[in-house]
Amino acid sequence: MSDARVASYALSLGDDALVLGHRLSQWSSRAPTLEEDIALSNLALDLIGQARLFYTLAGETEGNGRTEDDLAYFRDADAFRNVLMVELPNGDFAHTMVRQLLYAAFAHPYLGALAGSPHRGLAEIAAKAVKEMAYHVRHSAEWVIRLGDGTDESRRRTIEALQSLWPYAGELFESDETECTLIEAGMVPDRRRIQKPWDETIDRALAEAGLERPVDSTAAHSGGRGGRHVHLAEMLADMQSLARAHPGATW
């Protein structure tokens, strides 16, 4: 059934998942240990799987015949709606894990709420993804706790990551106009309702890590939902190169 609002919304969620999934996949063969290399790939595959489902739904509800591959590989950066946090280069391991915690602490309760949507397609994707994101919260929180409460160097790096990523977190709670109409129609959750569970998850992890919660910045970073990106074009140039060089290739 054609529904431009649902298409736009599903595209946003798909973009967040794909871009973060691709960033995580860039750790493959570069992680600190073999075990963590596989763990990061697992997290990446969860997110890329979620992106595929959201893109397929977006293509169906958009009604122009675009496939998941069209949406992933044949859109330019300014057509992506992901929040800026997920496109940031990975940085060091602490930066990657802090970002994963900030994102998953939002995505887990948010998708949990979306699983109760009257829109069956959205609800089904969310119900599958919520279990995956529960593990993302667990894995990233355990690492942040150990890095924060670890060596002087791991603690310093974790504090730096927290300081630099914090101003990006607010964008997770912003809704564009299209999404607001879906919220008013009772189709999707209000992101502001996720603030409390997000705070609880983050505060618990930071307390256990012995880290202080950064002060909310007035200079918050956002604009990704509107297609204003900073690091995405460089990432897509790599991610999309194969599909664009060999359109329609299968393997």
Binding site: L34, E35, E36, I38
Partner: protein, 95 residues
């Protein structure tokens, strides 16, 4: 750099079939909670498991390979210990 080596853990997983936990390999992890996660990520990616045990490798007490003559060799001549001298009636079926 004087980094401490990361401890090694032996991993046991229990398959869906209800069989006992079986040793499947080992992982490096800083502590028990992280070892369970590493085991999950490394050994259960294809739906192999419904339960994970991890045990510090240092807790395993192993026999000495040099003792194999006295520990294991003597059994090779005691074929009568194998339950192969009984005729099992057909009605009993597979045992």
């Amino acid at each position: 750099m004087s980094e401490k080596p990361i401890p090694l853990w032996e991993v046991f997983i229990r398959a869906r079939s209800g069989l006992p936990h079986r040793h499947c390999g080992s992982v490096h992890a800083a502590d028990a909670a992280m070892a369970v996660q590493a085991a999950r990520d490394v050994y259960t990616r294809r739906g192999e498991s419904v339960s994970i045990w991890v045990v510090p490798s240092s807790a395993i007490v192993a026999s000495d390979p040099n003792d194999k003559d006295q520990l294991f060799e003597p059994t090779s001549t005691k074929v009568y210990r194998h339950p192969t001298f009984y005729d099992i009636p057909d009605e009993v079926g597979h045992m």
